[in-house]
Every structure is written in C-alpha cells, then in structure tokens.
C-alpha cells in the first residue's frame, strides 16, 4: 500500500463564503517532496480550484511563503518529511489580508518599501560620467541585507506588525540598512528622518523571530537594532550639537 499523508488546507473563496474553511486532502507521501510539490499535486490531480503563489521552486523568487503548522516557511524549501506522520496544516502568511485561499495581499509592504527609499541616493547623480568604486570589505558591510527576496516570512513572524499594522516592519527596515551601509550612498539622513518616528524603528521590541524565520539570513532584527543605536546617538548629537551636521 502506498503511504499517504493528510494536508489540512486553509480555503477562502469569497464568492462562496465570507468565512474561511479548512479542507482536508489526502495525498501520496514522497520522501523527496516539498510542501509545494504536495500543493501542486492537489491542484493537478484533486482540486484545480486551490489557489496559491509560486514560481521558481528554488528559494529565489520569494512567492511561495505560507504558514506550515503555524510557522512561516518557504514551501518550496520545506520537506513533507519534517512533518510526518501529519496531518500538516497549511495557511496563508499571518498578519496579511487573504485574497483567496493561500494568496495574501502584500500591497501594504510595497507602500512601506517606498518610504525607506530603497535605492542609492547621491547628490552628484548625472553630474559626471564615472564609476563608483567599492572594496570587497565595503560590499561585505551591506551584502547580507541585500539578499532579501521579499518573501514576507518576517512580517508573518512579527507580532508587532500583527498588532500594530502601521509598523514599517522587518524587511523594509533591513532594506533601508542595505542602502545606508552602502559606501556609495548618501541618503542616510533622509531615510533616518522617515524612520526615526514611532512607526519606524522604535516600534520594534526585538522579538527576534523575523531573523529566525528568514530563509536568506538577512537578520532584519539585527539591522533594526543597529538602526536604533544610530537613531539614539543621532538624537544625542542634535541635542548636544544642534548646529552640526545638518543636511
């Protein structure tokens, strides 16, 4: 007899019901299947109406994040084997509105991302045709933060974002640091202005779960704490030397 495993999948089909339901699917168990393979099996063989996002199936595109047994993971990088004998509960990423089944609406993040100005800011842009050189050590300063794939696992893990949706959140703050720590960038003060208020860095209470769930070791929690140290020392500086370093 073939081994089977049960998936308990969150369903939200607004045209059918205003409330979500859970649907059980029994599927063949393969040791080398990831959760995404199981969902694809359901979609192809059992129920074509099941809706979810995926693309690269190799941990690069960041679109297949879901809650598996209550924990945010990339479903293309998470094996069924880790959850045997099952059943396995699959839900859309927490803290986001659900559009349909396992698909969440991340437009809130996209709005917030714009606020942190995630691009290189320079005063001399366009003034001169030149290269901006960078040493390997200068690259290493921000490289970790540039690995983010916008998978939103960190937002799903962050209770502060869940409770205070105004909070800019882990990935956007890590991306702000990605540019702040880039030796070619000159936009640090502009970003600090946008982020040093309540809903920026200070709402983070350092739960640390964002870093624990991040599949790319971006360590957003660390990025935010470094931001706080800097924000606090800037505050002292402007208090003690109000006329220095304005731009």
């Amino acid at each position: 007899m073939k081994d089977l495993i049960t998936l308990n999948v969150f369903r939200y089909q607004p045209e059918k019901s205003k409330e979500p339901t859970y649907q059980e699917y029994e599927i063949p168990y393969h040791k080398d299947w990831v959760i995404l393979d199981a969902l694809n099996y359901i979609k192809d063989q059992i129920d074509g109406s099941l809706t979810y996002r995926w693309s690269c199936r190799m941990g690069v595109c960041g679109s297949c994040g879901m809650m598996v047994n209550g924990k945010p993971v990339l479903t293309c990088a998470t094996f069924l084997e880790s959850y045997t004998p099952g059943p396995i509960r699959i839900e859309p990423l927490e803290n986001f509105p659900v559009i349909r089944d396992l698909v969440i609406d991340m437009s809130d993040f996209l709005e917030k991302l714009k606020k942190v100005k995630p691009w290189i800011i320079r005063k001399d842009v366009g003034s001169e045709d030149r290269e901006y050189l960078q040493t390997p050590s200068q690259l290493a300063d921000y490289k970790q933060y540039s690995m983010c794939i916008n998978c939103m696992l960190c937002y799903a893990a962050c209770p502060v974002y869940g409770l205070e949706p105004e909070f800019i959140g882990p990935a956007a703050l890590a991306l702000a640091q990605r540019y702040n720590m880039d030796s070619r960038d000159e936009g640090k003060n502009q970003r600090m202005k946008a982020l040093s208020h309540d809903t920026g860095i200070w709402q983070c209470t350092f739960v640390g779960d964002c870093s624990a769930v991040c599949p790319k070791n971006v360590d957003p929690a660390g990025a935010i704490q470094r931001y706080k140290v800097e924000g606090a020392s800037n505050w002292w500086k402007t208090l003690l030397l109000p006329y220095a370093s304005k731009d």
Partner: protein, 128 residues
Amino acid sequence: MEGLQTYKRKIGIFWWTKRLSHFRFISRELTSIAVAFIAIELLLLSKAIMNGEESYQAFVQSLTHPILIILNLIALGGILYHSITWFNLAPKAMVIKLGENKVPGFLIALGNYLGWIVISAIIVWSLL
C-alpha cells in the same frame, strides 16, 4: 489594491502562547515587573534611611518576612533572565569593525558581561 475583497484574520489575546519564540519574548517583557519591584524597594529603602536609624532597622526587619524573601528571589531570577538575554542580544545591535574585520559577536557579548561584573564588583567593594 483597492476594492479588493479580502479576509482579515484577528489576533487573539493569547497569540503569544502559540509559538515558543513569542512566549520567550513575552516572558522577557514581563521581567520588567521584577525590575519595577526592585526599583520601588530601593526607593522605600532610601526613604527609610533618610528617616533615620530606627526606620532603617524597621525596614530591614520587614524585609526578612518570608513573603518578601520569596518575592525578592523571584525578582532576582527575573532580573538575571532579563540581563542575560539582553547581553546575548547585544552583538546584534553593536557591529564593530576593526580595520577590515568585524569583531565577532561573542566578544561583544563578553565585553558586556565583563562590564556587568566590574560594575557589580565596584558596588560590592564600596559596600564592604
């Protein structure tokens, strides 16, 4: 995406019991009650000292009450938990570069612990 009908899930008040990491976080936050307790105790102690020898003795005497001993022990545990978890987190906030290289995280945590020990030693020494 305006006009899109979405389903918003609610967060229950017991959200922090669902994941170990969240539970640990809330316990760390709760240890601030222990900090507040000790701070109040210290304030009362200073007040007793200002009121003279007699009130100081009475205050010290009242601290020997078993309930207060237990409360103080719980507070000590809470504060130790708070400090240790805090120092272990310090390397995340402080990234120090010496020349081309990053100072490893454990050295930064160690520096915090050493600072803690030195300051505690100075306090103990000044009391003796």
